[in-house]
């Protein structure tokens, strides 16, 4: 396969384009590698420290003094604040949906109305998370208009 690297000035416009005849499993793995490269997190689960891909995280939850990252199979305790995760990974489709939750839009199945102008986020993992009224406009802006959140 021919590989070409081109220098650009704008960091925000950095991208990897794969031109192929067919999307094979090799291509898929290159894509998966590129998507998660540089975005691994480490967290503890049952007294052990694990490294996991950011792309596997469904959502982050602040509970008590700790922040937890939830993947399909596990949840990890992190040593970071929720607002830091929110701002750091905004351009990785992570967005705040309530005081305690930051969700991954790529792991969001759909939303449905709850009461009082709030919505319920139905995650692909089956979990339901309440979207607070105050975060609804920002979420709509990001998904409907594609503005903000680095998208």
């Amino acid at each position: 396969m021919h590989v070409q690297i081109r220098n650009i000035k704008d960091k925000a416009r950095e991208r990897l384009i794969i031109e192929c005849v067919e999307v094979t499993s090799d291509i898929e793995s290159i894509r998966a590698y590129a998507l998660t490269k540089g975005t691994t997190l480490s967290g503890s689960c049952e007294e052990r420290i694990y490294q996991f891909n950011l792309a596997d995280v469904s959502y982050f939850e602040a509970f008590g003094e700790h922040v937890y990252a939830y993947t399909k199979s596990r949840h990890y305790k992190l040593n970071v604040r929720l607002y830091m995760l929110e701002s750091t990974y905004a351009d990785h489709h992570f967005i705040r949906c309530s005081k305690s939750f930051v969700i991954n839009l790529m792991k969001l199945e759909s939303i449905s109305p709850a009461l009082n102008g709030r919505f319920t986020a139905h995650m692909k993992s089956g979990e339901k998370i309440l979207i607070s009224r105050q975060y609804v406009p920002a979420l709509k802006r990001v998904v409907l208009e594609g503005v903000g959140n680095g998208l």
């Binding site: 839009l105 790529m106 109305p113 009461l115 919505f119 309440l130 998904v143």
Partner: protein, 147 residues
């Protein structure tokens, strides 16, 4: 939401909307049905009194923490019952509520208005959710395809 924000955003907003609507309704109904009746300055107080009475039950909806859907339904039901009680009692005390059928029909009217308002809001939110879900799927497709 802290109490100050809740008070300013919800209670005061609701109070001023009620005040405007009551004043407008009084003027309109008065001109239509009793155009010859004249009032003293004390009549200006009634929109304030009824506005305050109608707004006060909203206090049960306040919570520092995010309410669950079940809790929200409970609070909304409490709000409706309090609103019914406040309106019917105040109308009875000023002598405008004279019979049980009248009280029942007024109570049912308040219930219907409340249900209609919530239904309209629900339909609006459903439309928003539908739009959002379509845009979300598009966003996820674009991301997966790397477009």
């Amino acid at each position: 939401m802290d109490f100050k924000t809740f008070f300013i955003k919800k209670i005061m907003m609701s109070f001023f909307i009620s005040l405007t609507c009551i004043t407008g309704a009084m003027a309109l109904i008065g001109m239509l049905f009793e155009p010859s009746v004249r009032f003293g300055y004390e009549a200006f107080l009634s929109p304030f009194i009824f506005g305050t009475l109608g707004t006060l039950p909203m206090l049960v909806k306040y919570s520092k923490k995010e309410l669950t859907i079940k809790q929200t339904i409970m609070r909304s039901a409490m709000h409706l019952m309090l609103l019914e009680a406040v309106i019917l009692t105040s109308l009875y005390l000023v002598g405008l509520l004279t019979s049980i059928p009248m009280a029942i029909s007024l109570g049912v009217s308040i219930l219907l208005i409340d249900v209609t308002v919530n239904l309209v809001l629900w339909i609006q939110d459903s439309r928003t959710a539908k739009q959002f879900n379509e845009a979300l799927q598009k966003l996820q497709r674009e991301y997966t395809c790397g477009e």
